[in-house]
Point group: C2
Chain length 345, copies 2
């Protein structure tokens, strides 16, 4: 079926050298060889189409040079932003590692007996776990059982995790709005339920920081939205209503882009001009096209989280027993034309 790959032995035969010499010429310590010999080997290897066997190396060295990224197929539990992948890859490339990805359907995962291939086999040196919220207990158990170095991405854990510092970002953002003169600032979240604890820590931290800063400034926090309202399919009408009230907010902080866009739309429906009458901000990763309007927001540093995760995992692989303290990544604020001083009311 598959054509048999060319091996070192064949390159050795071709050049009349020994297998080991060929190995040397192709490896890190190629400079130990006579340049002429090395050249000869490289040429022959290239002509024959030699590719080294990852499995053979892995077997010999005990290292697969592969990290695995674990995901839930449930989108809300395992957010997979494009830039996270790219950030991971960039760091991996620098270490000459490669990435395996496995998405686990939680139903299967939960069913005793099913173990993901990447855990069942010796196939990678460590795990990047991208279970951000509602991590199934069995996942945690499995990771404990199959002792592999692991780093949690975008998730708050006691150790070995890296995540965006949403609390600090929300603080800064709220302070910024207050600094501009806004007093009636609303926090809008149609993503989480009004009755349950938010899935993801960011749902807690952004709100908490906002409330704290508002209170510290002697202002009263105002929370809008909830998943329940979204499920009635009337987000922007809901926003539009609010925007007609006398005590309407002059600025909003959306949990993410969706909330911000709903505010833009609802605001427009109520005859408000952005940013003259209403400043709109949110948290978002910039890959989002949204509505074609550039919104002032705190950028979730997906790429940096990915890179940091890889670096941490690399450390963990070398010192598996050392716990790494949680690594928070700062968010940058992106200016845009949805932000202004408050209107004179």
């Amino acid at each position: 079926m598959l054509p048999k790959p060319v091996t070192m032995t064949q390159v050795a035969r071709e050049t009349g050298l020994s297998r080991q010499t060929v190995g040397l010429a192709l490896g890190e310590r190629a400079h130990l060889l006579k340049p002429e010999t090395r050249e000869r080997v490289l040429r022959a290897a290239s002509t024959l189409g030699y590719r080294r066997s990852g499995s053979a190396v892995a077997m010999r060295t005990g290292r697969t040079n592969c990290f695995a990224l674990l995901l839930s197929t449930i989108g809300s539990r395992s957010i997979l932003p494009r830039w996270l992948v790219d950030g991971i890859q960039q760091a991996m490339r620098e270490h000459d590692l490669h990435l395996a990805v496995e998405s686990l359907p939680d139903e299967q995962l939960t069913s005793e007996g099913h173990v993901p291939k990447l855990l069942r086999e010796v196939a990678c040196d460590g795990l990047l776990i991208n279970y951000n919220a509602q991590v199934p207990q069995r996942m945690i158990d499995l990771i404990g059982e199959y002792v592999l170095p692991a780093i949690w991405l975008n998730s708050k854990q006691d150790a070995d995790c890296v995540y965006p510092d949403d609390y600090a970002a929300a603080e800064k953002l709220t302070q910024r709005l207050i600094g501009l003169g806004h007093q009636r600032i609303a926090y809008v979240d149609y993503t989480h339920s009004a009755h349950e604890v938010p899935w993801h820590y960011s749902g807690i931290d952004r709100l908490a920081a906002y409330e704290q800063v508002m209170m510290d400034a002697g202002l009263s926090p105002q929370r809008l939205g909830s998943r329940e309202i979204r499920e009635q399919g009337s987000i922007w009408q809901h926003m539009a209503e609010h925007m007609k009230r006398d005590d309407r907010p002059t600025a909003v902080i959306g949990y993410c882009g969706m909330e911000a866009r709903a505010c833009l739309h609802g605001g427009l429906a109520s005859g408000l001009a952005v940013p003259r009458d209403l400043s709109v901000t949110c948290f978002d990763n910039s890959s989002d096209q949204g509505i074609g309007i550039d919104i002032a927001c705190c950028i979730i540093p997906d790429a940096i989280v990915g890179k940091a995760g890889v670096e941490m995992l690399q450390q963990k692989v070398n010192q598996p027993n050392k716990l790494l303290s949680p690594h928070r990544i700062e968010l940058q604020f992106k200016e845009a034309d949805t932000l202004d001083v408050p209107p004179t009311l």
Copy 2:
């Protein structure tokens, strides 16, 4: 550093059986063994925490049981929808394969000399190429050079590719709008340039099908938008302008969700109610949160493309020389409240 994984030999020692017997008990043909022996092996393996070595198996069998997904780091060249990943994974799980992912920065790729790790090494049995548009020549060259079975995802090629049937979908969608009684139907695309050929085949096919159906029905196609306008940052104002004209469209087909949302927003700005005054449709993958409004659209079947890609690649691995004819996947239409009969003008 890394604790040494438990091997068959150790399980054999533990049970007093030979390595081969253990291998048998753990493999496909376990039924050839006395149930009692098999039990004993399985128990011991589980106690010791045995995991079989993927590399050793790969080396022995010549199969890595791994497919690789190739991406460009340039988002527009390599769209990576979440559901594509999940679709791929689902099919992979069924075949007990695992997935490696590599994103290639085009600059590095183009620079002669740099070869992606997954191509440079024997590390996978086949490639899923997710270069959808503007495929760099060097990528094509490399794939030709490192002869590996490969399937192109979401890209129109002469053979060995799978992609959504955008042409047929756009036909059906346009016909549907005409069937509702619409006559002034606009096609909106702020994603592609007005002056260049669209990057992705869908930019060509959706427009072409729309125009064809319109002409066949004796209606005149009307195209709105262009990347140039988007770059001026005034999409929705642009839409709003259009919607004030006497000959404004009563229905729009957006290239993707962004266009549809811009129409909603621009329409609102011009005092139009959706769907009473304006029907809005588009092409999109449903993972998009957008603005919190459910838009009637043709759903891009990412998951199915992924699954089909894996199945095709599996075939290709078994018959590397057989060319597979292009595989088109049908799009389903998702109804929503943005669609109605035209207003009486």
